[in-house]
Symmetry: C2
Subunit: 334 residues, 2 copies
């Protein structure tokens, strides 16, 4: 009652197992009638190759491991889509693992992936710094997608251009006439880049004095709290640039709770163009990182790196665009 093996197929088709293997891998060197016979036998027996046996012998798995930070934050869905399509085109399958789900269990996902001997590793989003990832990256081709860290030798980074994105958003607000603008800052290098770019643009317009920054934590709750702090200043901002869509939703709630109408009394800009921002009821103006493209390019980087593991590490940045929706308008006074 075991699943049929290549030998069963061979016997049924009246050929050797080697010939079956040849047919299955699409060799040209096989006479049509034998090919037919083999394929017929495969069909009749419902044969499926055993991936474990194959990868043991081939010494590769045609599988790449994808490390997610947290499925609860939906910004990566598009990225994954791009990743998957490009990998699939090259005969690679994708295995997902959620770091957040597993960290609680104290399990190290890179360990699972190394035991699986994945052909490549993609770290999606800013992961907590981990010695294990560093070690894994030294063994197996690795690409960081949608984040800027960690920077490791031979590890490519593919992400949206955060400096440009934050600039687009800030200039949009300034062009609308806002002068006193707040920022909800995020973590890590990405957080620092967006914040820094925001401040740079404000300085360029001589508005640095009117700038306020509060730290959020990427969640709605964090955005809510940061906004409450921003809005409780004596001179409150008329616009807020949030680190991401989730904290922007938090900002929306804070505004509402304080009796401010968005965008009349307070303009808000999110970041990531997640489906949450696209919910009609929220309809956030937000920065689109071209995540699908980030995914595709990350896949390409990985493919290139698998082909030549020693090539120098690259940093690929995609060009973000501003998606203007319902949460920005000129300030009330104008």
């Amino acid at each position: 009652m075991r699943p049929p093996t290549i030998r069963d197929v061979a016997e049924r088709a009246g050929v050797s197992k080697s010939l079956v293997s040849l047919v299955l891998r699409g060799s040209e060197q096989v006479r049509p009638e034998k090919r037919e016979a083999v394929l017929a036998a495969v069909e009749e027996l419902g044969y499926r190759p055993n991936a474990a046996a194959r990868s043991l012998s081939e010494r590769r798995t045609r599988t790449v491991g994808v490390l997610l930070h947290d499925m609860r934050n939906p910004w990566f869905v598009e990225l994954l889509d791009g990743l998957n399509s490009r990998l699939h085109d090259n005969g690679l399958r994708m295995l997902l693992a959620d770091g957040h789900l597993n960290r609680r269990l104290g399990e190290d996902l890179t360990r699972t992936f190394t035991e699986l001997r994945v052909d490549g590793l993609i770290a999606v989003g800013t992961l907590p710094p981990s010695e294990a990832l560093r070690a894994a990256a030294a063994q197996v081709p690795t690409v960081v997608a949608g984040a800027r860290e960690p920077t490791l030798p031979h590890v490519d980074v593919v992400a949206g251009d955060d400096q440009l994105g934050a600039r687009l958003a800030t200039e949009h607000l300034i062009a609308l006439g806002h002068r006193r603008i707040g920022h909800i800052a995020g973590d890590g290098v990405v957080g620092a880049l967006r914040r820094h770019s925001f401040e740079t643009v404000m300085r360029e317009h001589g508005l640095l004095d009117l700038t306020a920054v509060e730290r959020g934590d990427l969640t709605e709750e964090g955005g809510y709290r940061a906004t409450v702090r921003l809005l409780s200043a004596p001179e409150r901002p008329t616009a807020v640039l949030a680190f991401n869509d989730m904290s922007c939703v938090g900002a929306l709630s804070a505004a509402e709770e304080l009796g401010l109408r968005v965008p009349r009394d307070l303009s808000l800009v999110g970041y990531d163009n997640t489906y949450v921002s696209r919910l009609r009821h929220l309809w956030l103006t937000t920065v689109d990182n071209a995540s699908h493209d980030v995914g595709r390019r990350a896949a390409q980087c990985l493919l290139d790196r698998i082909a030549d593991p020693a090539r120098p590490a690259q940093v690929v940045l995609t060009t973000p665009t501003l998606e203007i929706r319902g949460t920005t308008s000129p300030p009330a006074g104008r």
Copy 2:
């Protein structure tokens, strides 16, 4: 430069490969000093067992495949969390695959999983009917989680009790004083159950005449359109029970667009208690299916079925609760 094998470890520790295998699998029958030697060698070489070789030999993979319908709809996150924790406790790893991502590529995920020879399969949510899944379920222990179909021989089903959930929601609205109540209906058996239960409760209260049902499609967009239709009736409902949180958000937008305040002019109830419903700005009253529990129980079912594949198919229903938040109140007239 290849990764070290069990033989390398054996040589380094001055023992046979069999002894290494014994130590690694935690046998008691090994003298402490040898054990130490082996573990030291493992450490020094950075040895990691090769999962492919192991599963080829053991004829099992300690891996279960999880088929997701669509990552964009976030209701399953908690479920996955429960699933993962229980599976992990039993030494099984979980591989995710998103059907939506892959269907576009025309790839059949059950195929990937059968080639991988996963020890079990979990279908999460209502998947499009598929001959492949039926065939796979005949080969490998399978459990449906968070959905009611397909019903196949030897396939367990674990889900929230949709009848009870819809009843709780409907009775809540009636208790608040609503009489004219609309419903946004969903697809599949789950959709039918919720709708039917809604209608039953309405009938019990003699309100069947005041009932209106419009079909949605699980998305925000579908919920929006269905609500527009519901609200354009001459006598419009004062409350709407949505099939899920996503369509409830759509309903929220529709209400807003038509100038109705929620909950003053229109009460709304969602379903699934997703994080979207928990966003402070939306704060939907919704039915909680105890998804974490569904996940844990589904995992348990799968474990039981792996132990005894021939046992009769079970249907396990969890008890939902109503999560009352900001989108329900007595109707304006009261």
